[in-house]
Amino acid sequence: MKEFIIALLVIIIAPLLGGLLSGLDRVISARMQSRVGPPLMQPFYDLLKLLGKEPLAANRRQVTWALAYLFLIAASLVLFCLGGDLLIIVFTMAFAAVCFILGGFSAKSPYSHIGSQRELLQMLAYEPVLILLAVGLHLQNGSFMVGELFHQTRPLLASLPLVFIALLIILTIKMRKSPFDLSTSHHGHQELVKGITTEYSGPFLALIEITHWYELVLVLGLVAMFWTSPLWAGLVLAFMAFFLELVIDNICARLTWDFMLKFTWSIGLALCLINLGWILARGRGVM
């Protein structure tokens, strides 16, 4: 019963929090560009407007995949907040991303096809790091369970500092920020129109928008996981990571997928492997 209430609270509160964060994102980005920027509640206005638009879908499959994307991301967030298995959470997120990609592929538009292909490449870039993060969690705690972290006094950041840096790189990809906002972007029109979300409109785009809010909360949760005792320190850490991403977004140009893949597979993976090797070599923390 307690778990059910927590799940319900997560489902209701997470999009509100995600929407506020993306509103804050737009205000802070505008101030960094010496603009006034939209009101803080702008993402909610956008969402309500999209819900009120005429429902025009390219086909039914597209809508099904968008719904699957929403449910799977929400499910992985609920699992995460219930202190579930990180490996399962990572795999659910991957399945959700695949649904998003298939949604992009299901419309006959070159823009959404290129966007989907780039999203696939993004998955290829971040997925190994996320799995190594789960491995690192297991090496440290002897369990994949996120809930187990609350029984530890030593923060995860102390034993996995390099994996944390790799996660920050991944965060740029997951939050769709420059230099890695390849598949779709928050900003104006680009060579891809809107990439993978080009063919979604009105209420269906609103679904994608809500899913992105859930996803934002989830990836920031992954950051907060690095400092669970006390929990507020983790939340501060997550907010600092969020702010760092905004700074990076505003000082970077968009780069190619080629660079992204090389960067994450060389530096990102190297950071993770050195960190995990170090833990193994030290021989401590392994149950």
Partner: protein, 147 residues
């Protein structure tokens, strides 16, 4: 319905299309996005995607080749939507009105809701035109609800 109507006015996403303009008005439209005018204050985003747009902003008159594109863009936009013709050419054909390939203003192809005069239209008047378009958007949704 009240909340959604209110949100519509606070979140107009633009689609900017250049019919056959001399680029003067286009540059003024883009100037609206710069820190000096900063239309994102009003929640305006330049989308570049008809499927996401609420307001179709057209600069320049329509020639025979662009007519098909303008009609296509307009049809791809989901309801409710409004059209703003920016600049003298978009309003009436302007100095190009009697060219052999010109059809005239945007109204020759799709229904226009707001006309923004000027050659080139100033950023202030473009923003004013968009804000007036929002009133049209509101009245349009009101009518739809009544029907």
């Amino acid at each position: 319905m009240g909340m959604i109507n209110k949100s519509r006015i606070k979140s107009p996403w633009l689609l900017h299309y250049d019919g056959s303009s001399c680029n003067g008005c286009d540059i003024e439209v883009l100037a609206c996005l710069t820190p000096v005018y900063d239309v994102e204050r009003f929640g305006i985003i330049n989308t570049g995607n008809p499927k996401h747009a609420d307001i179709l902003l057209i600069t320049g008159g329509v020639n025979r080749r662009a007519a098909r594109v303008v009609r296509n863009l307009y049809e791809q936009m989901p309801h409710p939507k409004v059209v703003v013709a920016v600049g003298a050419c978009a309003c009436s054909g302007g100095i190009f009105h009697d060219c052999y390939n010109m059809l005239g203003g945007i109204e020759k192809v799709i229904p226009v809701d707001v006309y923004v005069p000027g050659c080139a239209a100033r950023p202030e008047s473009i923003i004013d035109g968009v804000v007036q378009a929002l009133n049209v958007l509101e009245s349009k949704t009101g009518k739809e609800a009544a029907v």
